[in-house]
């Protein structure tokens, strides 16, 4: 598995960085926040991203995709993390597309994937039901009614839940509340009767929503994969989402870190740059060491998606746990090392801090992934 980028991948990273610097700098997120933008991202920007092919990186060529691989996707996610670019990339082009790829039938793939890849259709995964990621703890019910299903329940912390055109709903068709068995996935238009949506304003100014399902009826053709067999699709879908999100968090951490190191060289106190103080140097050096570890973990996890899928669960949990820890440490240190200005809204560092906290919770916090890594390792 390659832990070094090839020429094409480096070009993609460089062009993504250039594009985002001019078209989606951190100021764009500020603007969305301050103007209370109802969509939560710029439709024009999303169309440009789609034209660059970003929504189609992991989609096979036969469905209108670039089939450029998960490492390439990770590079784009990382650059988006650097500028905190808000877009449906994660929820739709990674998690939504992966779910269809992992579990959709041929008709669903041919119908949905080309539109996702072109950025015309956006998806959101309606999974969580409590304040912590517990992907098998599902109480939303799905029962058969002739050639339809009826869904009842509620969802929370649905990334892009209020903006996506379609929702992938994780519901329980059989089994007990905590069981991985008996889950089913269905695709739902957002305009369906009985579905209500409340956008939740999160600290990172990015999109999330609560959804309620009150006797929502959907035709059984909307089922993704087998009835009761949703876990086999959900788990690899989530692992892809975790790895892509970990890449975004890497970008977030790197940007906050680099801005902080630059500040250490420029800010003077007691007549010298504060970066000459060993108390700060050693903390910065430890973060550099952690960054090096996270870089290797991320590359290995990205490569595993296509090359060693049996390693995917443990590497996805390793990546998400390690990046959770890194981005928490780095954003906290970034604020502290900036001193007073670090806690002002004027400085961008606070925005990195806020995005980091939300990203740490999405698809599993550190404790969730440490537990999963330990369980997968047999202890």
């Amino acid at each position: 598995m390659a832990l070094v980028l090839n020429e094409e991948q480096r070009l993609l990273r460089d062009s993504a960085r250039e594009f985002l610097a001019s078209n989606a700098p951190v100021a764009s997120l500020r603007k969305l926040r301050d103007e209370r933008d109802p969509l939560g991202y710029s439709q024009a920007l999303w169309q440009q991203m789609a034209e660059l092919g970003w929504a189609s990186i992991i989609v096979p060529e036969q469905y209108g995709g670039l089939n450029f691989g998960f490492t390439g996707l990770g590079l784009v996610m990382e650059e988006c993390g650097r500028t905190l670019a808000a877009s449906p990339l994660l929820a739709s082009a990674v998690v939504g597309a992966s779910c269809i790829l992992c579990g959709g039938n041929e008709a669903q793939k041919s119908e949905l994937l080309p539109r996702i890849a072109a950025g015309q259709l956006t998806l959101a995964l309606a999974l969580e039901e409590s304040h912590h990621h517990r992907p098998s703890h599902i109480t939303t019910t799905l029962r058969r009614d002739g050639d339809h299903f009826v869904i009842n329940g509620h969802k929370t912390f649905v990334v892009d839940g209020h903006s996506a055109n379609k929702l992938i709903v994780v519901a329980r068709s059989t089994g007990t509340e905590h069981s991985e068995q008996g889950l089913s996935l269905v695709l739902l238009d957002r305009e369906t009767e009985g579905l209500t949506c409340q956008r939740t304003m999160m600290v990172d100014s990015r999109n999330a929503a609560r959804l309620s399902f009150d006797n929502v009826r959907v035709h059984n053709e909307a089922l993704i994969g087998d009835i009761d067999g949703g876990w086999a699709i959900l788990e690899p879908t989530l692992d892809r989402g975790r790895i892509a999100l970990a890449a975004e968090m890497m970008g977030c951490a790197l940007e906050a870190f680099e801005r902080t190191v630059a500040y250490l060289k420029e800010r003077e106190q007691f007549g010298v740059p504060i970066g000459s103080f060993q108390a700060l140097q050693h903390r910065a050096a430890r973060m550099q060491a952690d960054i090096e570890l996270c870089r290797s973990v991320l590359l290995q996890a990205q490569g595993a998606v296509e090359e060693t899928p049996d390693q995917l669960p443990i590497l996805a949990s390793l990546a998400k746990a390690k990046l959770n820890e890194l981005v928490k440490l780095v954003t906290n240190e970034a604020v502290q090392m900036h001193g007073g200005i670090g806690v002002t809204d004027e400085l961008d560092i606070g925005l990195f801090l806020k995005r980091a906290r939300v990203a740490m919770q999405i698809y599993g916090d550190t404790g969730f992934h440490k537990d999963r890594y330990a369980t997968l390792s047999g202890y």
Partner: protein
């Protein structure tokens, strides 16, 4: 790639055919062969295994053939290492001549020095000690005071060196000596090779908290060293030392993967000593510490691979510079974790109330404290990262 795969097959077959069964067992300190005039083979099989590897050129596979090396590429040498590890084959010859000095001599030594010393390392004739630190020069290595005065046809060496590993068993020592006291401290240092049988040299072992005394202090009292034993230019020894330190740090970063002791992996120890409930360790704190350690080691292993791939493809990154710090800190964490998992059974000093593994774990725990001090302490490593990677402004203290 195809060629490398084929090479791997050949290596695998050769090792399978030539490595005696007894040399595929975990090795204890008494079973190691370190060479030198005072060294002997611990067993007939160890001698046979060493002779076969030397004839094959695989004692130092990446060194040139004219000095007894194998003349292989870094990738091929790595394949041999991996295949030996896979088979559990013992390291046939130990020594810092092999691990550290040889590479520096190949880069900085003159032809006569290479011919005199490199084959002697490979042939197990010379065991080397390292003379760097002094009682007054630890982390601030460049402040060393052991001096070598130019007496025309020779240098006259006076002073002492500390932490000279197993110097009481070594034949030669490579030393950093002060050859100019009147310039910036790094610019007045030279790199000398000294025969430990020379008159005026004496060595005393140092007792450690681990109960062992593998380190010594070595004293030089009017020792005459021939001029031809200077490696590189006069007063340019610091560059040789730095090149050599890179090898030492790399070695220390990897040390956990090739430990001579009967070390138990923490996960295995957990299964032996801890209670499980529903397939999980019941003690939440220990389970959390174990997973932290294993994830860290997983990430470190991947970073070693990445460092190697980057080297092979000519990409520069900060990865190699952080590995000594990360690797040795992780070794300390591992030792503390093993002690915690074993509880009072991990605290035995000697006697048959404890297994060999338990006693070794305790001794290794004590030894692990030295790993973040020797070869540039963790604090020095962080200074290096701050300076060379982050390019932070320097203060007087570092």
């Amino acid at each position: 790639m195809q060629d490398l795969d084929q090479f791997r097959q050949e290596v695998r077959q050769w090792l399978e055919d030539n490595c005696p069964d007894s040399q595929r067992q975990p090795i204890t300190p008494k079973e190691q062969y370190w060479g030198g005039r005072r060294g002997s083979f611990p067993s007939e099989d160890a001698r046979l295994w060493y002779e076969r590897m030397r004839t094959k050129g695989w004692i130092a596979p990446e060194w040139p053939t004219e000095y007894g090396g194998g003349g292989l590429s870094d990738q091929e040498a790595r394949v041999i290492k991996q295949e030996m590890k896979r088979l559990g084959a013992r390291t046939p010859l130990y020594g810092i001549g092999l691990w550290m000095l040889g590479a520096a001599l190949l880069e900085y030594g003159n032809e006569a020095q290479k011919q005199q010393h490199i084959p002697a390392i490979i042939n197990g004739e010379t065991r080397w000690a390292q003379g760097y630190s002094e009682p007054g020069a630890g982390s601030d290595l460049a402040s060393l005071q052991c001096k070598a005065e130019d007496m025309g046809d020779h240098f006259l060496v006076n002073g002492s060196k500390i932490w000279t590993t197993a110097a009481d068993k070594c034949d030669w020592i490579f030393c950093l000596v002060r050859t100019d006291p009147n310039v910036k401290k790094q610019e007045g240092i030279s790199f000398l090779l000294i025969d430990m049988d020379d008159p005026g040299i004496s060595t005393t072992p140092i007792g450690l908290i681990s109960g062992e005394s593998e380190f010594c202090q070595t004293f030089f009292d009017n020792v005459k060293v021939p001029k031809e034993n200077l490696v590189g230019e006069l007063n340019k020894g610091w560059s040789v030392a730095k090149a050599l330190l890179v090898h030492e740090r790399k070695l220390m970063a990897e040390i956990g993967s090739d430990s001579p002791r009967k070390v138990v992996a923490p996960t295995e120890a957990a299964k032996q000593y801890l209670e499980f409930h529903d397939g999980k360790i019941s003690d939440a704190q220990l389970r959390s510490e174990l997973v932290d350690y294993n994830m860290q080691m997983h990430a470190i292993a991947l970073t070693h691979f990445r460092g190697f791939e980057e080297k092979s493809s000519g990409v520069r990154s900060a990865a190699p510079l952080v590995m000594k710090y990360l690797g040795t800190e992780a070794e300390k964490t591992k030792s503390e974790l093993l002690l915690a998992i074993m509880g009072s059974q991990g605290l035995g000093w000697e006697g048959d109330a404890f297994t060999i593994e338990e006693l070794d774990t305790l001794r290794l725990w004590a030894m692990s404290k030295a790993m973040t001090i020797a070869g540039g302490s963790s604090e020095v490593q962080l200074n290096v990262i701050a300076k060379n990677v982050l390019e932070l402004p320097q203060s007087g203290g570092n």
